[in-house]
Amino acid sequence: MIPTFGIDIGSTGIKAAVAGNASALERHFPAWRLLSERPAGSDLAVAVAPVRPSGGNPYAIVAELIEEVAGALPPGGRSAPVFTGIGARACAERFGGLAVNDARALARGIGLLHPHIAHVLEMGGARARLLNIAADPRQGEVLLHDYRANGDCAAGCGTFLDQQARRLGVDLAEIGDLALQAGQAARIAGRCSVFARSDMIHAQQRGATPPEVLKGLCDAVARSFKGSLLLGRDFSGGALFVGGVAHNAGVVQALREALGLTAEQLSIPQAPAHYGAIGAALWRWRREAPERDFETSKPSLSPSPWPALHLDQVVFLPAVAPSEENPHQVFLGLDSGSVSTNLVCLDGEGRLLHDFYLRTAGRPVETARKAFSALRALLSPGIVIAGVGTTGSGRELIGELIGADVIRDEITAHHTGAARMAREHLGKDVDTIFEIGGQDAKYIRLSEGVVVDFAMNEACSAGTGSFLEEQAERLDIDLCEDFAPLALSAEHPVRLGERCTVFMEQDVLERQRGGAAPEDLAAGLAYAVVQNYLHRVVRGRPVGEVVFFQGGTAYNRAVAAAFARVLGRSVIVPPHAGVMGAYGAALLAMQAQGEGPRPSRFRGFEGPALEEQRRTFTCSACANACAIQEFTIEGRRSYWGDRCSERFRRPRRTDREPIVPDLFRLQSESLHRNHLADLAGDEGEAGRRILAGRIRRKAGCVTPLRIGLPLAMHTYERLPFWRTYIEALGHETVLSPPTSGVLAEDGIEAAVAEPCFPVQVAHGHVAALLQEEIDHLLLAAPINAETDTLKLQSHVCPWGQTLPFVIGASPAAAAARQKLLQPVIHFREGLARVERDLWRTCAPLAASRSHHRDAVALAEQAQLRHEATLASAGAQALDILERGNEQAVVLLGRAYNLYDPGVNLNLPHKLREHFGLNVLPMAALPLQGEKIPCDNMFWHSGRRILQAASFAARRPWLHLIYLTNFGCGPDSYIKHFARSAAGRPFLILQLDGHNSDAGLLTRVEAYLHSKGLLS
């Protein structure tokens, strides 16, 4: 029997297998592993080679493998290889042989070795898949009945785990064992790896240990795999888990837990990573005729390359030496960031004496200690530390720990540093700052030294340093030493798409497989970061004349050159570009000292003994179950890690008090008020009393039912209507519980496709209600809303319009379909239409048609009362503000973003409590008839948002924060028009499945600083 040979070129590893006579395989391939699993009913055996990393040049490894096999077997004793995986076709062309589809190869490998298996779960380097197969080994036939793949999302696969492990300084092979050691898991968002990564960083910053983070990561990957591919499937009859990730014990355990399966039910074969290669090796076995293969002629769409990079338009400012080497007092600035921890030491004139750039590596406290001890070794004894400032995402933890005098957001720190450098070196003001750090990218626009606009990456890490870092590592290029010279030597830099970090990685991989030269890829990556940054962060905002490029990525001269090329103007890289945040923080400490000298709070280089005084516990205040870190520093307790609870909230950041009442609390109280009782009360008008009396009598004629109503989506503005309607019909309203982390997570997992976060949360509310004893579940489909103009439609977004039916089609709601009431309602068309719409579905709930009409009429009155309450409180608040000459923040957005604290992380409350701000929801503004700068705004929410922006445009004392969601279709346009409507910059906050408010508050703080709203 001639051995057959299969090679699987994966994204991270290359796997090979041979199939043939067992003794021959043992003889010829002693270093390979002979499997005891064999094709049923044959004496054929399979041996697999150790996995080889793909590295920068997969072809060389494939060539080695081919040579190895050729050398091991006698001439004439081997067949041409069968290739599968990402570069299969290119390999088949290059080395000869057959290329086959990798899912089919995988199915064949498993089907022949494990014919009883019907479900295959695969998690490889860049892929996660579920295959349903049926095998008949006697015929050598394996049929693929169904498959699901992760497609555009890389969250549930190995590359992502690998990246994160490297970020934590942990070897990929160790992840599983380390994760199993952790007592608790840090909560990491499951679906999008970019969000997961941010969560992970914030968990580290808040003190979670690497094993806890890794366990959280394994849970997230398993959850994501389950959420995207495995929902509604029953694997209790047995499934096989394959792919390289199946070697990771942490993920295996997490996946078994997530799916509720035992080790027998979800089993791991002998060589889980090799089944693609095994299928390729067995491709021709027991096949009479070679099967049709999928050779495709890909139309050429390869774009023209970028121009070569040059440094001629990059200005590198020289460092200025301090006037004396050993000053008697110094100022320190520490930037505790996601990728690096930077420490600077300035003399009394603000000249840089020392700077340190260290990898944070997931240990912010230890890294900060290391930096301080390195600095201490350089400073002469007795030197006075006159002031310390901290910045970066770990600013509060470290600031508290070391006793910082100033704790400030990164944006403020960066512009403070850049402004000083520009004045000192150029004698003029900087007007534009590009700051690209590890996870954050910022754009700051200044006018006469004052921040007038800025933008940060909205929950997206495309166009940040970590992307470059990961890609360089993947390409085997040393980012610090070799990347820039290599990229600058490229003649034809490749054009890579302007896209999400994770997708871009796949592009790079494909171009690499397509034979792009390393230098052209490196230069292409430099361009890609710049393109992503300009399109996703700057987004068409003006770029001025004095452009500073700083942050860790500015050390990369190739990126600076790419900026200059793309913008066609000079780009200035300041000295110590990577530590500008720390530099700015030190300057801010110096400025604070200048305002009134006082001794620094700095606790000294030793710092308190943190480890011994740290305690971790789980907050039980709500279902979020946050992991709280308690630090005791000099007897003062400080808490970290809370998401929501009142008990462990952060200390106030200002002494300012809001002068207007809490309109969000008022909205919530009015929303949940029993309006029916109020309407029927003595104070009601005579007509209403009669109506209510009639209702009471008729409601007594129906059998009371329990009607479930999800407190999600449009219920946040229409609850008074729905509750009154249900109760006026004589039934009981069963409201879903408030949005919690657990509920949101359930919703994310229950949603079939990838809608926006609030829609996912709504799925969670429905799931929660289905656990209750209810007779019906009322899921209304509002098509449109009342409007102040009939010239235009006033649609709800398509997701809102269709949500009841999407939920009805979901596997989770399948069992309860007969309970669903899904009226399609046109609020725009008036009450008669609304009543007709409701009657069609809800007639069985009412005693009679007239009873139903009365109920709808009362419901409408309740709704109007609710809206009037907020409008009148809003008018009063505006009056108070105007008379008091005070400023306020108006929150723009849809009701479910503005009023659901589980979605907005209680932002309105935090704005009031932490920053002492007056905060108004846009519904509190008198917007009737307000003109907008868009002639065809057919979404009701869009019209209202634009009206609110226009209203604020004429009142400079109203500042805007726009709450939106990742993937919100209407907002992708409304944001454009809102800029023209507002006539000035405002903050956009994207709310998603995040479980940390650190990122959100950084943006808010920077915005408030730039607006002069924080002292």
Binding site: N101, D102, A103, R104, L143, L144, H145, D146, Y147, A149, G151, D152, G232, R292, F294, E295, T296, K298, P299, L301, P303, S304, G497, E498, Q506, E510, H535, R539, G540, A751, V752, A753, E754, P755, A781, I783, Q793, H795, V796, C797, P798, W799, Q801, T802, F805, A809, P811, V824, H826, R833, C934, N936, F938, G967, G969, S972, Y973, K975, H976, F977
Partner: protein
Amino acid sequence: MSGRKRPLDGRICYIPRIINRSSRLLAAALEAAFGGTFRIVPESDEHTTLLAAPHLNGDECYPQVLTLGDFLKVLESPDFDPARTAFFLPTSSGPCRFGQYGELLKQVLAERGVGNMQVLSPGFDDGYLGMGWKGLRYVWWSIILSDLLERLLLHTRPYEVHPGQSDALYEESLDVLCALFTDPALDGRGLLRALRRTLAASGERFGAIPVDRLRPRPLIGVVGEIFCRLNSFSNDQAVRRIEAAGGEAWMTGFSEWLLYAAAWDRIERREAGRAFSPGAWRSALLEALLRRDEHRLSRALGELLAARPEPGRVTELLELARPYLPPQAGLGETVLSLGRAAYLQRAGADGILDISPFGCMNGIVSQAIYPALSRDYGGIPIRTLYYDGSGGGRDEEIALFLELAAAYRRKKGKKD
């Protein structure tokens, strides 16, 4: 815009590449109806995206990127004169984002200093009657012709013995039909008769192309967002990839949308209690007229497309979708994609591919409902492919999907 006036006033009007290569047929029809000069925007390429990007925030849908970028390309041409140029961009009143393209285009043109440029935007609300009866009928003819030719092409090309023959005939037929539209001697009924004759002749020639149908190919019904589905640049040549992987594509044509627009106007009026208003009569008349013209033209092909029939009425699709999503809630493409997927399965498709732009709201809703539809329709494989211009990896995905379609076909064969 109105068919009775000459809205262009000497301007050259550019139209986006809405319906693939046959957009030139649409341009010819518009020219015949309104006079003046209608041209298709230059071919989309990477420059398109680069031109659009500075004006976008990256969250808009992909057809927006391409239509905006292609229009901006016109602004870059050396002989561009804003006073002598106009853009044609149909609009809608929501709820899908398509209706915002025109608004954003106007904002961008203003930013570029040409805010006074003319943008012609016939709207959905009156079934596109804003173009006038004549304008709408001419446009309708061009769309029916383009759909029929496309169906002939896709039903022939995968099986042709001599590669390239079907494509060449397709282009040639387009040339002749375009010439008819712009022939000043032809108008109204005379034009329709000439179009019929030419189509019949093309049909005969398609029928005569030597084909080998012995080896069956999985039949893949294609649904989804209209631009992305029909514009081959935006879907990275999905149809050719389906064919290259061994399948035959059955593409949902553009005409469905216009029929839906006409029918929807009538249904909406009925729902709102205005079933007997003048507007409702007008819509019913329009719908009847469109269907009659469609019938006249498609009859010219005899039995050639008997294996790829269109539904009798567009409302048939809405009824097929109703168990999953009532037409009043799933406005526009969502309900059409669902209904069409069910229709195609009944008409013999072995698999359904939904081609939509990344982040498409309608696409995501349909995608969420497809599993339920598939369960009710014998487990037919249905997949959504999202496009955003980044490409990569589709061949493998399509090949794998064809594998499922082939397995479904075998299963179906056994049952039959």
